[in-house]
């Protein structure tokens, strides 16, 4: 389990849940957006009463004339409602949507609602997130029986304040924000009833006002807040029904956007302090390598350079500004070891993965039915294909930057991370101090896409170690080259898929894939087949595999949806109709698929050389089908002409922002499929910058993306990631339709050339 986040607290003995898990439902280890969280009896070793969290939250956020509720919100006497989001902002827009969810249940006037980032304090550990992820960790049955208090303890002991797994709306919003808004609204109405001496049933709440229609009297939320804050809140308030929503489901503009168009938004890299120095770094080019030696003199001779700091595996130059630091670093000739990884290369990794699969000894296996029997059945036609996908870099536009100042035994940090709490624990460990002596101020981020999970962010250690060696505040900035060559990449992975066909239908399908992490349980298999088998073969190179937007759904989606087209071709059937007949009749999946086919004009004629591809992937609780229309340029590269996406995420809280997330995910998926790859040679990354790691540009992106939402009302799903996975198979399928050539290795580059 995670280190005790509150080592100074006197903790009683571990509590264990009263209900024993059933033998099969429990997974001891899950991949939560790619980062492993260990769940077990030891998790309950931390006990911190909820009242402690609440009073700590109030101390941090509630000032004079303000009244706090449950850690998540406060009401000021001027009626301002402030919502505290435990999620950080790296562009996904969930702050506004979380505010919508709380404000709707609260019946607050939207123009009086502010949304702020919750402080990086244990009091704001995300109970809702723990509860949301719990079923995948402990099984539905056990999760349903756990009391809230136990879940709260889990959140704090992990500690959990993550933004990832497309979890903000579906977990934090649905579990915490709506419930809090509804419970506080009930308390405000109860307070008004007492003050006016009328029954609650005669009162209505709207626009931050409780009104008694009969007498014409009304009380503002600001007037009622003090009294309401003293009342105990119901733990199971009645939530509004869909027809009662005024804010949820509405295309409300994002609150963060004005500061992002006039240059006033302050990102981690923009942060400054008086007397601050700027540093930059070169780490061992080969992952696992160490710094052997470096002559510091050439850097110190550069004007503006003040200090050279050696770390175990890197060298840092500290200067007056970034440019001087960079010049100083370039003047150095550090010698690094290769950690014994000089034989690691992209072809060697694929070869090793292929051998693992051929040996047939899987590390994890899932599926149903007897695939072997289906393959051997009389009259079965077996189709096979091998696919390869490369390491992918997140390429967030803001390179890593983190400011640190070690003063009077306390390490202060400023920057952007996907989990403010584990940022503190990691920094404390690196600096060798107690976590209570680390203060972290979370800032907005220029993208993240999975790269900023503190578990995988070395800059935290680097700044913690650096700050302890200098008397002034120091901002460490990674160059783009450092960023690209020391990524935590989407895994390079190889897969072999096979299926048996009989009478035009799949009777069995096997997916064998080799990579670091096991995707079983994370990416649902959506087709109804008599027999399926998914086998994971664990393979780890010297590179660090991390979560990359939509995590394992990118490669699993590419494999499965490319292969469904190949199976359709083998059966002599249309790819859309072929998918359709393997999905459950009347299912959400069929509706999503039918809608995208209808909107894209599936089956209508296209000009010669142009093809249409379809793909459907469910990830993070959301079903997305996409159609891409594409052709091949003169040089053999893919040109996307049009794109459609149909989405069922249950409820679309903010359609305006949800459209942007789906559109952006689709375009990021196309970008990766068309040209992105991190290649390894002699254990080191070959690519260095956007010059050789090309990101799709405007001219090559579809001019518009038709995004349509189906409001099924099913359990709310995520929106930040699910738009991505169908894009690459839809494009590869479109190229195959256009040229007759099936491309099984990404990126596509110029493979479609005739």
């Amino acid at each position: 389990m995670a280190d005790n986040p509150n080592p100074d607290l006197d903790l009683p003995e571990a509590e264990t849940p009263a209900v024993k898990p059933k033998k099969k439902g429990v997974k001891r280890r899950i991949f939560l957006a790619g980062s492993a969280l260990v769940v077990g009896g030891g998790l309950f070793g931390v006990w911190w009463m909820d009242s402690g969290a609440k009073s700590q939250a109030k101390a941090l956020t509630v000032g004079p004339g303000e009244h706090g509720f449950l850690t998540w919100m406060k009401i000021a006497e001027d009626d301002t409602v402030t919502v505290y989001s435990p999620h950080i902002d790296f562009g996904q827009g969930s702050h506004t949507a979380l505010g919508q969810m709380l404000a709707d249940e609260l019946d607050a006037a939207w123009d009086k609602v502010k949304i702020e980032q919750a402080p990086a304090d244990m009091a704001f550990a995300n109970v809702a997130l723990a509860k949301g992820f719990l079923p995948s960790m402990a099984g539905e049955t056990l999760a349903g029986l756990m009391p809230e208090a136990v879940i709260g303890i889990m959140a704090r002991s992990m500690p959990l304040m993550i933004t990832g797994g497309s979890s903000a709306i579906r977990f934090t919003g649905e579990i915490a924000m709506r419930k809090t808004g509804a419970a506080v609204r009930a308390a405000l109405v109860a307070e008004a009833a007492d003050r006016l001496g009328v029954p609650e049933s005669e009162l209505t709440a709207a626009d931050s006002l409780v009104t008694h229609a009969k007498s014409g009297k009304s009380l503002r939320y600001g007037e009622l807040a003090a009294g309401a804050a003293g009342r105990s809140l119901g733990s199971d308030p009645v939530l509004k029904t869909r027809d009662q929503w005024k804010l949820i489901g509405k295309p409300i503009v994002r609150r963060d956007i004005p500061a992002k168009v006039d240059g006033s938004a302050v990102y981690g890299i923009d942060f400054t302090l008086p007397d601050m120095r700027v540093a930059t770094i070169a780490a061992a080019p080969v992952r696992g390598g160490k710094l052997e030696s470096v002559d510091q003199a050439p850097a110190l001779a550069v004007k503006g350079v003040e200090k050279v700091v050696k770390l175990d595996d890197a060298v840092i130059v500290v200067a007056k500004g970034y440019w001087q630091a960079k010049k100083g670093l370039e003047a150095l000739a550090p010698k690094f070891s290769d950690g014994g990884h000089s034989a690691v290369s992209t072809p060697a990794i694929y070869a090793a993965q292929g051998k693992l699969i051929a040996a047939g000894k899987a590390d994890n296996e899932g599926g149903e039915g007897d695939v072997e029997a289906a393959f051997k059945a009389a009259g079965a036609k077996v189709v096979e294909a091998e696919y390869r996908v490369p390491f992918l870099h997140h390429a967030m536009m803001e390179p890593f930057a983190l400011t640190g100042h070690f003063k009077d035994g306390t390490l202060h940090l400023w920057g952007g991370m996907q989990d403010p709490l584990t940022t503190r624990t990691r920094a404390a460990k690196a600096a060798g101090i107690a976590v209570d002596n680390v203060v972290f101020t979370p800032m907005i981020m220029g993208g993240g896409f999975g790269r900023r999970f503190p578990d995988l962010v070395e800059i935290i250690d680097q700044v913690a170690l650096l700050a302890k060696q200098v008397p002034y505040p120091v901002k460490l900035v990674w160059s783009r080259e450092e960023e690209l060559r020391h990524g935590t990449y989407r895994p390079q992975s190889l897969a072999k898929l096979s299926a048996s066909l009989k009478d035009g239908a799949i009777t069995g399908m096997r997916i064998d894939y080799a990579q670091s992490g096991n995707a079983e349980g994370e990416v649902p298999f959506i087709y109804n087949l008599p027999a399926t088998s998914r086998r994971h073969f664990a393979y780890q190179s010297n590179q660090i595999d991390g979560p990359w937007r939509s995590v394992n759904a990118t490669q699993i989606g590419f494999y499965t949806e490319s292969f469904m087209d190949e199976a359709a071709a083998a059966a002599g059937e249309d790819p859309y109709q072929f998918r359709r007949k393997h999905l459950a009749p009347g299912s959400r999946h069929i509706k999503v698929l039918d809608e995208v086919a209808k909107r894209s004009g599936w089956g209508t004629p296209l000009p010669a050389g142009t093809g249409r591809g379809i793909a459907i992937v469910e990830s993070f609780g959301t079903i997305v089908a996409e159609v891409v229309e594409a052709t091949v340029k003169q040089d053999g590269s893919a040109k996307v002409l049009k794109a459609w996406a149909v989405v069922d995420c249950g409820t679309t809280v903010n359609p305006l922002n949800a459209e942007a997330q789906i559109m952006g995910g689709l375009i990021m998926g196309l970008s990766s499929a068309i040209g992105e790859q991190v290649t390894i040679d002699k254990g080191a990354v070959v690519e260095s910058n956007f010059s050789d790691y090309p990101i799709l540009k405007l001219a090559d992106a579809p001019p518009a993306v038709d995004v349509h939402f189906i409001e099924s009302g099913a359990k709310t799903g995520g929106i930040g990631e699910p738009g991505l996975p169908p894009a690459s198979p839809a494009l590869a399928n479109a190229l195959a339709a256009a040229t007759g050539k099936r491309i099984r290795t990404l990126p596509l580059l110029t493979q479609a050339k005739a």
């Binding site: 890299i269 970034y322 536009m397 001219a699």
Partner: protein, 160 residues
Amino acid sequence: MAIAFSVNGKPVSVEADADTPLLWALRDDLGLTGTKFGCGIAACGACSVHVDGAVTRSCSVPLGDIAGKAVTTIEGLKAADGTLHKVQAAWIDAQVPQCGYCQSGQIMAAVALIEQVGTPSDAQIDEAMTNICRCGTYPRIRKAILAATGQAAAAQTGEA
């Protein structure tokens, strides 16, 4: 050495080596952090500013070449009374930014394009807008440029 030029209409003098890129003078010396560092090799456009009216990738222009010239950054686009430039307003109406990090550069590129050609065609937008956006906001960037130049119905889709 001291290098003198103007930024957003005001004269400035920066004490720096002539090879210092304009970007770092703006960010580290003048505190104008709206202009972003993305790649350092003029490949992404996050650092785009105007130099004597021409869109320029400030990470790759040495300060020595800027002496005596007029630089405009994202902070200088607003009118003196604080009114947003029509491109900035169109960006809000079309809800373009996600993470927002590249958008200063995107807006500077779009303003330069519009100043140059008036009402850009789709092909001119394709040619001029070469800045990278990792969030994939391109369709909304195009929509905002068209709206700002009266070529599309106002892109406003949301409530205030």
